[in-house]
């Protein structure tokens, strides 16, 4: 059950990641089109600047959960590695709890922003695109990230002496 839920979250993280990748490609193409229209057809595209900038908001968060699933966040483990295996286990759990708390903080902030922008109808400055469209993917990305961090905490296996020996070998 726990494994299936974790795998589902990782699958959603991958889907979000590719959504972000697709948006980056759209941004690159749209910007190139904007430059082409401005210089070649002398008919500047009035949407490109704000539209692509707005799209950056979800792009910034779409990769969060995937980075967590790949343990890709930079960290300094010099001191942690010097500790005994028991202390390393305690530190890892402490770190995961801190990550969950930070995830919850940002998730709640993003969910509140999504809710408020939906009901207030807040829109972007020039194109008047509803902010809700951009907050919703941010909130989803942050919730998936937080859930994944929770599952990592629940599934956490403390480092064993075998892991330690393997690391020494490499």
């Amino acid at each position: 059950m726990r494994l299936a839920f974790t795998q589902t979250l990782e699958r959603i993280a991958l889907i979000l990641l590719y959504c972000g990748g697709l948006m980056v490609l759209i941004q690159a193409t749209w910007i190139s089109y904007g430059v082409f229209m401005r210089y070649v057809l002398n008919d500047p595209d009035g949407m490109v600047t704000e539209a692509t900038a707005l799209m950056l908001v979800p792009v910034a968060f779409f990769g969060l959960a995937y980075a967590l699933s790949k343990d890709a966040y930079p960290k300094v483990t010099l001191i942690r590695d010097l500790m005994s295996l028991k202390v390393q286990g305690i530190l890892d759990r402490t770190n995961l709890i801190t990550m969950i708390m930070i995830g919850v903080f940002f998730s709640v902030a993003a969910c509140k922003a999504t809710y408020k922008s939906y009901y207030s109808g807040a829109a972007s400055e020039i194109l008047l695109w509803p902010r809700f469209y951009f907050w919703l993917p941010v909130a989803i990305s942050l919730i998936i990230f937080t859930l994944l961090a929770m599952m990592r905490f629940i599934n956490y296996q403390p480092p064993s002496s075998q892991d330690f020996a393997d690391r020494e070998d490499t």
Partner: protein, 433 residues
């Protein structure tokens, strides 16, 4: 609360979290949130976080970050880098051609990629096994390639200069252009180091390189993309035709087309590039979001201003302040990677640099060079480990570190030259103005 209590408290918490192995973006957020809650209630803090997230990410300049990251990943997964290296040393009738070729390929790759690690990995992945096979000394080979990767962050486009410009609110275009001349000087220094190394230790470089000649078609498929993409980025920014974000967008599309058509990029490589880009963005997204909260707390308590005033009141010579800052970054760079350092320390330190009367465009290049030193110094020298991982059985990390020493020396020499002759960086942006 007094500003120094907040400053020391933030710093202490941050160091604590980093030392226990908490990933850096979370350490930054975890250090900021207690102070944020001291200023505001929880619900107001949420609103602050919401406003700050929206404010920082709806930014057209920041949009160039994922575009330049994707550009580097696409190039890195195509055969353009390996073919560029092959072209650079193929049938070059001089002793040490493979080493010079590595430097040339790293510089060429640097003109299309802004990440030092991608630069080292791409060129190093093909050049290191070949140099070892040809009989080059392992310390020379690993040193050339680890240091060569750092050219990517000085020659535009540079991700470090981009982040520096975002944090200090300086023109990204001017920063990129300011890196061009120091980049070429650094390439010359690296070439001189290889020549001197060969002269002092002739046994470290084989008499002749028996490499296969590169077919002309393949050579063109490597050179043309680098020239075209490099020109799109530098010329369009230099002449003001396009903003750095537009240059990033156009060059990204051009890179994709060329990587697929002549660079041998396949579907799996393309997906890999997208995954790597979004993974980097996942880290940067949280780092920058946590960074703005950190910055908000610092600014609320006026820590950067008070810190600058404190230093100014000491009456220290501006150059003493500058040397202290450079030393601080070189030491910090031994433990932190450049992007994190940029978002953690720069908001507090750059007002001090400005107050000391230094040009912030010039300091951007100085800062980038210190970041290059950072990726070459243990224990957290990213490029050292990247290169060692490419030939784990033949090369030890000590070999890479020793091999890098002359190149680190040349980076320090470049720093000294830049301090003595600031026009090395400011001349080209001056003409641009």
């Amino acid at each position: 609360m007094e500003w120094y209590v907040v400053g020391l408290g933030l710093l202490g918490l941050l160091i604590f979290f980093i030392c226990i192995g908490l990933p850096i973006p979370f350490a930054l957020a975890a250090a900021s949130v207690p102070f944020l809650l001291n200023i505001q209630s929880l619900s107001t803090s949420m609103v602050t976080a919401e406003l700050k997230l929206w404010g920082v990410w709806v930014d057209y300049i920041l949009l160039s970050v994922p575009l330049f990251v994707l550009l580097g990943e696409l190039i890195g997964r195509s055969s353009i880098g390996p073919n560029l290296y092959w072209f650079m040393h193929s049938k070059v009738p001089i002793r040490g051609a493979a080493a010079y070729g590595s430097i040339g390929a790293c510089a060429g790759f640097g003109a299309v990629c802004g990440s030092s690690m991608v630069g080292s990995l791409t060129i190093g992945g093909v050049a290191l096994p070949e140099m070892l096979k040809l009989g080059y000394n392992k310390r020379l080979s690993s040193g050339v390639l680890a240091a060569g990767g750092t050219l990517s962050v000085l020659i535009p486009p540079s991700l470090i200069l981009l982040f520096y410009g975002i944090v200090t609110d300086q023109s990204i275009g001017e920063l990129f252009i300011a890196g061009v001349v120091p980049g070429f000087i650094l390439v010359s220094f690296f070439i001189i180091i290889v020549a001197v190394w060969g002269w002092m230790r002739p046994q470290d470089i084989p008499e002749r390189d028996s490499s296969n000649p590169i077919p002309w078609g393949l050579a063109l498929s490597a050179i043309l993309p680098v020239i075209i993409i490099g020109l799109i980025i530098t010329i369009s920014i230099y002449t003001g035709i396009a903003t750095p974000t537009e240059a990033a967008g156009v060059s990204c599309v051009a890179t994709l087309i060329m990587a697929v058509s002549v660079g041998g990029l396949r579907w799996e490589g393309f997906l890999g590039a997208l995954r790597a880009t979004m993974q980097t963005m996942g880290y940067l997204g949280l780092l920058l979001s946590a960074g703005v909260l950190f910055g908000f707390v610092l600014t609320y308590y006026q820590v950067p201003q008070q810190f600058t005033e404190l230093f100014s009141s000491m009456g220290l010579s501006p150059y003493l302040v500058l040397i202290a800052i450079i030393l601080f970054y070189v030491i910090l760079g031994m433990f932190l990677e450049p992007v994190s350092m940029t978002f953690i320390t720069l908001p507090t330190l750059y007002p001090l640099v400005a107050a000391s009367g230094f040009d912030l465009i010039w300091f951007g290049v100085i800062y980038t060079i210190t970041m290059e030193v950072a990726v070459l110094t243990p224990p957290v020298g990213l490029n050292l480990y990247v290169i060692q991982a490419l030939a784990r059985k033949e090369i030890t990390i000590i070999d890479v570190i020793i091999g890098c020493l002359p190149f680190i020396g040349s980076l320090i020499l470049l720093l000294a030259l830049m301090i003595m002759i600031p026009d090395i960086a400011l001349w080209l942006p001056g003409i641009m103005d």
